[in-house]
């Protein structure tokens, strides 16, 4: 009966979770919900964060597989792992993947999985630019931006006890819906403040890794130069502030940017690794 209630809740919840209505008045469920309010606000522990992330990553790979180029995949993992080592969460199971999709985008999945699309990589000119984008995504993982959004959305849409069930029962119906919800989040996007924070902190992480700090602004300028109607940009532009706004917000990082502008860009190594 409780399982059925969960299923009903999921079936009636729409992607716009704010529109969710209780499908029926279920006294037991209401009692459960009230009981779970206290624990609902607690943070999702790291092992569950990693597990949820793996499941979401598996779905994203179902939408687009990896570019079949082991050398390229290892190259991106080296850059990303080096950047992650400069952060406060160096020991997560960091994984980086280039997705075989023509769109320009990048995704951070809870627990340390980062994706970048072939379409975005092809527009880049240096390893410093790649580092800038990977560092931005790493910040989303450090600050648990997606995890918090999943948790918040799940609590609103599914009620706290359903989130608890979804966390406990990997492979269960509740868990499946949570993962589908978590995957769809990448077509809705995060709060603008999360994105701008990822830009600012990402610049610092790239600089810590020894890269020319202007890598990320440089990519943003490339995006800004492109036609906003370009079909390859549709999802990224829908889920992120406009590049011009992001560049404007990076003005306040000018001192940091300039202090580390002379660090290596690694144009040749990037070209040799990407265009093979």
């Amino acid at each position: 009966m409780r399982n059925l209630a969960f299923v009903l809740v999921f079936v009636f919840s729409t992607p716009v979770y704010a529109q969710f209505r209780l499908p029926s008045l279920d006294i037991n469920k209401l009692v459960d919900t009230v009981k779970s309010v206290g624990k609902a606000v607690q943070e999702i522990p790291e092992p569950e964060e990693i597990e949820i992330g793996q499941d979401v990553a598996s779905r994203l790979l179902g939408a687009a597989p990896l570019v079949p180029n082991p050398g390229l995949q290892r190259y991106v993992n080296h850059v990303g792992r080096w950047l992650a080592a400069q952060t406060e969460r160096p020991d997560l199971p960091w994984r980086f993947g280039v997705l075989d999709a023509p769109q320009l985008n990048a995704f951070a999945v809870p627990g340390g999985t980062i994706f970048i699309t072939r379409g975005l990589l092809e527009r880049m000119k240096s390893e410093a630019e790649l580092a800038g984008v990977l560092a931005h995504e790493i910040v989303h993982v450090l600050k648990k931006h997606h995890l918090k959004a999943i948790q918040k959305g799940a609590q609103t849409a599914l009620a706290g006890d359903a989130l608890g069930a979804a966390l406990k029962d990997r492979g269960g119906a509740a868990r499946d819906k949570l993962i589908a919800f978590g995957t769809e989040m990448y077509s809705r996007g995060l709060d603008k403040s999360d994105e701008l924070e990822a830009d600012r902190v990402g610049v610092v992480i790239a600089a810590r890794g020894g890269y020319d700090a202007y890598g990320l602004p440089s990519v943003l300028q490339t995006l800004q130069a492109m036609n906003a109607q370009d079909s390859g940009l549709a999802l990224m532009f829908k889920t992120h502030p406009a590049p011009a706004e992001r560049l404007g917000a990076l003005d306040r990082m000018q001192a940091t940017l300039d202090a580390y502008a002379a660090q290596p860009q690694l144009v040749e190594r990037f070209a040799a690794s990407v265009r093979k």
Partner: protein
């Protein structure tokens, strides 16, 4: 003799490459000083007004070498936005997508780039791909490998504070 000529050509080719790179038009988002060198304390060649149109030539750190009228010098990269107002920017226009659909009479999956991969619809319908996930794990780098990769690129870790 011919080999010598070829060698000569190969030697000068890299020097010619920057000349071939197309200058991209950009606009200044604020009044900006055109500097002789890419540095704040360099001599000022001209004062460019807001919305001035320039052609960008090369980036060095946070500076971009630009041409503006008869002048050539350096401006802050963050003061630039690419493109000229009203002009069509690079990339497809979105309209070409419609043409493709019309031409093929299908969703255009064979000819357009936007019809597969990572759009909202694909994300909503994505099924797990555990085989690909396992493959991805196989490409992971450990901390030591990443550190020696960084050393090869002459990257050194630097202490930089997070922004407040």
């Amino acid at each position: 003799m011919r080999i010598l000529l070829l060698l000569l050509l190969l030697a000068v080719a890299p020097l010619l490459l920057p000349l071939l790179a197309a200058a991209e038009p950009a606009t200044l988002i604020r009044a900006t000083e055109l500097k002789k060198e890419p540095a704040t304390d360099a001599a000022t060649l001209a004062r460019l007004p807001e919305n001035a149109a320039v052609e960008t030539l090369e980036r060095r750190g946070g500076w971009m070498r630009v041409k503006s009228g008869g002048d050539e010098g350096w401006v802050r990269m963050l003061a630039l936005r690419f493109g000229v107002p009203g002009a069509v920017k690079q990339g497809d226009t979105g309209i070409s997508q419609l043409f493709n659909v019309a031409r093929t009479g299908t969703s255009g999956a064979q000819v357009t780039t936007g019809a597969r991969g990572l759009d909202a619809e694909q994300l909503a319908n994505a099924q797990p791909n555990p085989a690909e996930l396992a493959k991805m794990a196989g490409f992971a780098a450990d901390a030591d490998a990443a550190a020696s990769f960084a050393a090869k690129g002459k990257l050194s870790a630097t202490a930089v504070d997070y922004p407040k």
